[in-house]
């Protein structure tokens, strides 16, 4: 058994098996469709696009204890784009951090599982974000607190590339680089999509990597669907003496060929489309298992 008093505690089993993580990601994609289809409310394209990131983070990278969610030395995860909850809730349920049945109340009146994740769900949602641009600042606070306690806890912040248009993000980036917060890892879900379409048709944020590098961060650009590459990047981030920014290139709708590349910020899923999406995911699962 692990020793709860030490920072070496390994609270829940984790895997670096690429095949297993890919299987989990496919399963999470099915959950996204199944969560959003009945109500037609939610973020499908973003969820499908980020499924590999969530699988790698929650089933390999993060040190968490489903039996003790408030363990002070746990790693923190903050979803700054708090609307991308279909994949988030699906992951929390799959990891045993919230009850599967509870997640099925998603979007229901009175349910704590709102479209934008909030602390109503409990401490498994580390902060109420979604007012865009705030997640990195909160993550910095958590990283500073961990540093003062000499805790091994690391803080991970996931945000969208469109969110980089918020000014507060750059205040935070400047500070984290200046403070050399090595226990902070930012992952930019670089799907090039925002409400009004392709990011370059609104306000260009590229080159993201050069901007963060100039702010004193370690930077890597990685294929957000290449699980072994993501694992390797996250491992390197743990060895850095600076904060790390991983620019993860993702494809909106990934895994459902008929939806891939469709830049739809809030996509409704009529039953026929949902059913076809599930079929396509099953086909890709068969292909993936070959």
């Amino acid at each position: 058994m692990f020793d709860r008093a030490t920072g070496d505690r390994q609270p829940a089993s984790r895997t670096t098996e690429v095949e297993e993580l890919a299987r989990i990601a496919r399963s999470l994609r099915r959950d996204v469709i199944n969560l959003v289809a009945p109500t037609g409310q939610g973020y499908v394209q973003q969820g499908l696009g980020a499924a590999d990131l969530f699988a790698v983070l929650y089933f390999s990278e993060l040190r968490l204890d489903p039996l003790d969610p408030e363990w002070p030395d746990r790693d923190r995860f903050l979803l700054s784009t708090a609307h991308n909850t279909a994949i988030f809730y699906a992951t929390l349920a799959a990891r045993g951090l919230v009850a599967c049945e509870a997640v099925h109340s998603y979007c229901g009146d009175g349910s704590p599982f709102e479209i934008n994740a909030s602390e109503r769900v409990g401490t498994v949602i580390e902060a109420t974000l979604g007012s865009l641009g705030q997640g990195l600042s909160v993550g910095i606070g958590m990283a500073l607190a961990a540093r003062r306690r000499h805790s091994q806890a690391r803080t991970y912040v996931l945000l969208g590339d469109g969110e980089l248009q918020e000014g507060q993000l750059w205040e935070a980036a400047l500070f984290a680089g200046s403070a050399r917060l090595s226990n902070l890892c930012l992952i930019v879900d670089d799907n090039r999509m925002q409400v009004e379409g392709h990011i370059d048709q609104v306000v260009t944020v590229a080159p993201i990597d050069a901007k963060f590098a100039a702010f004193g961060w370690a930077v890597e650009t990685v294929d957000g669907h290449d699980i072994s590459a993501l694992l390797a990047s996250l491992e390197r981030a743990r060895g850095e003496e600076r904060p790390t920014c991983l620019v993860a290139r993702t494809l909106a709708g990934k895994g459902v060929p008929s939806l891939e590349g469709l830049l739809a910020h809030n996509l409704k899923l009529p039953p026929t489309v949902a059913s076809r999406a599930l079929t396509e995911l099953s086909q890709s699962a068969r292909e993936g298992s070959r």
Partner: protein, 332 residues
């Protein structure tokens, strides 16, 4: 060109110190914060490039490992404070009142007020107390902070109150906005007042002809107005109301038999203490003559505090005029 050896003799001011006596002023707030932090290791201090004016240089020099210089980035500072608080620390964040509230309102709402984070937002330079002008005048901060659910709003009125308020705020679980006048050397040394309690008013003098309610710098002015009126045969109750939210409900009973109630604050008459008192009295069925003393519905300008308080009606004269006007109206 200034010769190198002449530079040391030049006086460096930051435009918010109002006179030369400000430099050696007793830092009541800064000392009280350090004392609280020495009692409670969870307390940490954040500043946004305003260490000296917020008196947090004492904290920086005494407890450097618990001091965070965030730079000129108030929104980021509030977000960081939210993260620190969720990790069990008690952040005291500091800036001028305007930048600590209006500039980062959404961040305060989401990262401090909604989660009831144990963050203390401390602002200096309240209302019309700056030469710098409209950019630095906080005339809406009490209104903004009052509007946030879960937020406690406190404006103490003197050094003893300030020291007591810091101890009370540190012991209070939850978000607080603490609005302070900057130490300017005019204050005597003082120890913490023993009767300070969050949410409780203090009756400073009693009289049957009306009630003056004030917070912060207007308390002393209300007392002077009451003294002047006493010479004219009018006896007024003066109430120090350091907690603007939650407002002490006992005020309703105190005001019930009063022929007039006047509320004075160094803030807009909209949304601050005056509004809070009006809401309480009307909802409690207290019908009385009522006036708000404060900045009218306008922005102001830079100037000395004395000049601005006279020009914008935050004066003893304005309070006396309001008393006389209300008494005139009551006559048949």
């Amino acid at each position: 060109m200034i010769a190198e050896n002449d530079r040391d003799s030049l006086e460096v001011l930051d435009f918010t110190a109002r006179n030369a006596s400000a430099a050696p002023a007793v830092k009541h707030y800064g000392e009280a914060l350090v004392a609280a932090a020495q009692r409670d290791p969870r307390i940490v201090c954040l500043t946004a490039d305003l260490t000296l004016p917020t008196e947090t240089d004492l904290f920086r020099d005494t407890l450097p490992d618990r001091f965070h210089q965030i730079g000129i980035a108030e929104a980021n500072m509030i977000g960081i404070a939210g993260g620190l608080a969720r990790s069990g620390e008690i952040p005291f964040v500091h800036s001028f009142c305007v930048f600590a509230t209006r500039r980062c309102y959404d961040q305060i709402a989401m990262q401090v007020a909604y989660p009831r984070a144990n963050v203390k937002i401390v602002g200096v330079i309240p209302g019309l107390t700056t030469l710098l002008g409209v950019s630095h005048q906080a005339i809406d901060d009490l209104a903004l902070m009052r509007a946030l659910p879960n937020m406690t709003v406190i404006e103490p009125c003197g050094p003893g109150d300030v020291r007591a308020a810091v101890a009370a705020v540190a012991a209070h679980e939850g978000p607080v906005y603490l609005r302070l006048k900057r130490a300017d050397g005019a204050d005597e040394s003082a120890s913490a007042k023993s009767d300070f309690q969050i949410g409780r008013m203090q009756v400073l003098r009693r009289g049957a002809d009306g009630v003056l309610v004030a917070c912060g710098m207007m308390v002393a002015i209300a007392l002077r107005a009451a003294e002047t009126l006493a010479c004219e045969g009018l006896s007024l109750t003066v109430v120090d109301m350091p907690t603007v939210k939650p407002l002490d409900p006992d005020l309703a009973e105190l005001a019930r038999s009063a022929p007039l109630v006047i509320v004075a604050e160094n803030h807009s008459i909209i949304g601050g203490l005056g509004s809070a008192v009006a809401e309480l009295l009307l909802e409690e069925g207290v019908h009385t003559g009522f006036r708000r003393i404060g900045v009218g519905d306008s922005f102001a300008e830079g100037g000395s505090t004395g000049y601005l308080f006279e020009k914008y009606g935050l004066s003893k004269r304005a309070i006396i005029d309001a008393v006389e006007d209300l008494r005139q109206r009551r006559r048949p």
